[in-house]
Amino acid sequence: MNAIVFTALWGVIMMIAGAFVRSTTAPRYMGMLGIILVFVVNAMELTSGFSLFTLPTMDMVRSSTFNLTFLAVVFGITFLIFLLNGRDIEKIGKHKFEYFAILFFILCGVSLVSTFNNLLLLFLGIEIMTIPLYILTGSDKRNLVANEAALKYFLLGSFSTGLMLMGIAFLYGSNPVASFYINNMQFGVGALPVLTVIGMLLLLSSMSFKVSVAPFHFWTPDVYDGAPTVVTSFMSSVIKIAGFFAFLRLFENAFGVMHAQWQMLIALLIVATLLVGNITAIFQQSVKRMMAYSSIAQAGFMLFALFAMNDMAREGLVLYSAAYSLASIGVFGVLARMDDITYGGFNGMGKTHPLLALGTTVCLLSLTGIPLTAGFLAKFYMLASAVQTGVYFWLVVVAVLFAAVSAYYYFRVIRAIYFKSPEGNNEGIKVSRSFEWILLLIACLIIALGINPEWLLGWMFI
């Protein structure tokens, strides 16, 4: 509750400040201040259950330590993005305060979708999350590629919203108690009415759309590629994990009773996602586009949380969110500072920028899932939760095979970093000393989580 109110408030404050403050560095510092504030009030609610506001929400919002921990991860990640790429956010265009304000509004949507208990709030949260994102994607107004990405994202995104609304309407029509509350759907087990099935499938496809799961992934590479790199960094981390969290929350509460009936469907989606993401990523020439496809592949792993849907899967999703976002913002953060975003741009980085190279390498290793990094434990949790369900063991085997495939394209970058000679002096990479240290901090966090995930997961059980 704290987080929802504070993010929205801070967004408004920043917007008003934009009208009066002329300073060019103020937006970045105000953004950081805001995110720290939000993190603190969220942590207060997490540790002591202390809420600053008591609003009559009619039980539409429900928070537990599980989703507050998740929100803490989201705010932490956003803080790191501000720290790492704050200057790049300011460089997108002229309206510096507004970009940060929009980011805060998105965070408000994220807080809504991770605590909703009602389909109305799911819909509103998803919209509050995506509509500002369309603007951010197109914020580079003169760039035709960014325009195209924004329009594509907008048309497909609102199309999937339409599907989601249709699904919600069907669910409302078919459930006997006429309720939008996801914990009070009362579908029962056994053969389902046709309307419920259609509604569930529509919701499944629209949520898959939002998190870019395989048959609905077409927009992802184009949008990730066309958007300004900072925005891509935010999109691939915060938006994606929030989408997954909403996905899990919706299906766990509303359709949890008939889990066995749609488990097969999820299994098929996982295989399709892993296949498309990993195989297409191999053939990319641009690292930014490769990362877009790899984010589809990682979505396949996160989907295991829906497949298994047990305690381990819940812990796994939080850990995976943290691990994946940390690594992803690291790599995209570096890409945002590079002129040449093909593999060639990384050539010889190990010699010219040793610290930067080290940080990037740790991030890439974590994405691959090498032991001692958070990515490994996250993948392990996901697969272990799938094994615990005791069905479809082949799925785990397939996932492990594709994780091995993914090593190919991540290691291609590492090979370029350390084993190729630089062309010239790598002047295309513009980083400051502090940027390198922040990247190393992210790398340390990744390794710390890889050694002891309890530092994060412990918060779920206070």
Binding site: F123, L144, G162, L165, M166, A178, F180
Partner: protein, 100 residues
């Protein structure tokens, strides 16, 4: 339902960004109609009547959909205008620069 189908088909086959956009709006509005119809239907059933907010829920939902649709229109039209300024066309086929 028919409106919704027209909307979906329109999004899939038309090539003009503004018409695609209108079709999306059509989808949202068909959902509005459907929600109101379902709410009326539930009002006749005794089980649903027992729930405290039985008929008003869907109708409130409709208002929220309208508001969100309006917000989407502002953003969407702005994007289309931005594209038109740069390319002097609103043809979706124009959008093929982002490939490999």
């Amino acid at each position: 339902m028919i409106l919704f189908t027209i909307g979906v088909v329109g999004v899939l086959i038309r090539r003009n960004a503004i018409i695609v956009f209108m079709c999306i709006e059509l989808m949202l509005n068909s959902v509005n109609l459907l929600l109101v119809a379902f709410s009326k239907m539930h009002a006749l059933s005794p089980v649903a009547k027992a729930s405290p907010t039985f008929a008003s829920d869907a109708q409130v939902f409709v208002f929220f959909i309208m508001v969100v649709a309006a917000a989407e229109v502002t953003v969407g039209l702005a994007l289309i205008v931005m594209l038109y300024r740069n390319t002097h066309s609103v043809d979706v086929n124009f959008l093929n620069r982002l490939k490999y």
